[in-house]
Symmetry: C2
Subunit: 145 residues, 2 copies
Amino acid sequence: MNTDPIKRSLEAGGLRCTPQRYAVMAFLREHEGHPTAAEIFEAVNRRCYSGKDPRSSRATTYNNLRDLVEAGLVREVAVEGRAARFDAKGLRNHHFICDRCGKVEDVEWYDVPRPRSGSLGKRVLRECELIFRGLCAKCAARRSS
Amino acid sequence: MNTDPIKRSLEAGGLRCTPQRYAVMAFLREHEGHPTAAEIFEAVNRRCYSGKDPRSSRATTYNNLRDLVEAGLVREVAVEGRAARFDAKGLRNHHFICDRCGKVEDVEWYDVPRPRSGSLGKRVLRECELIFRGLCAKCAARRSS
DNA sequence: GTGTCAAATTAGACATAATCTAATTTATTG
DNA sequence: CAATAAATTAGATTATGTCTAATTTGACAC
């Protein structure tokens, strides 16, 4: 009986369940932050997520991230900066980006009022995310010291 | 008498007013979209914004974009995708990102209700931007054809 | 358990985006 | 005009991401 949630979500997304994909999903699900592809690549090669030899090539990690994003299982986080960042598509979050250190933190989701009628013209709205900016708790504490 | 707004804004930001910087600011102020650094580099080398030889090296364009962002005169737009995108810090906008074609469009600003008390913990909030996602007018029209 | 086969992986080459470096130029100021 | 720190430069370098052809493999049918 197939009860593993990662395996089920891959299959639901039309993707084969390979050890490399499993490792990426497992890492993103237990990792709190928003890692870059390089961080994900290093992680899946450092620790065994799937019980098998975890080695994965860089191209595979990039390919898999793209496939998982397209399948809706992983989301790329909209942040400034050089490298793309990812998180597993669990609960939706808003994000807080620190002006000083650049850290991206999850903020509990709440629904945002839609823009007033006509504001979006003929666009079709799917989602509305908030990006908060300011100083994270750590940088705010440093500034007032 | 120094009345040029670009020159004044550079000086207010603590930066020397060089022809290369002037050209970047001028381009971003009149450009509606959110160009990449490569597009900015090509533009400032294609057309004379400052009345002088517009040539600028790639490193200079990148250096200047970084300095202008740090000085608060230009903002990097938070979007997914490979290359950073920029706009001049004029009127604040929200953004609409198309799921299909990736285009980033400005949406007229309105203030968003702040998150409920305690939600942000000890962070210091400066700004709250909305990112809308869905289909742009063009892609929405194509889909229903 | 075996065979099939399309999906996926691989390793390294390649492409794109962005940064670094040391020498040189220049904007600003006195 | 001279001084000087800020800025520019050109190309090397690094970081990020993609491509390619050969090989492997997950899932399925039998």
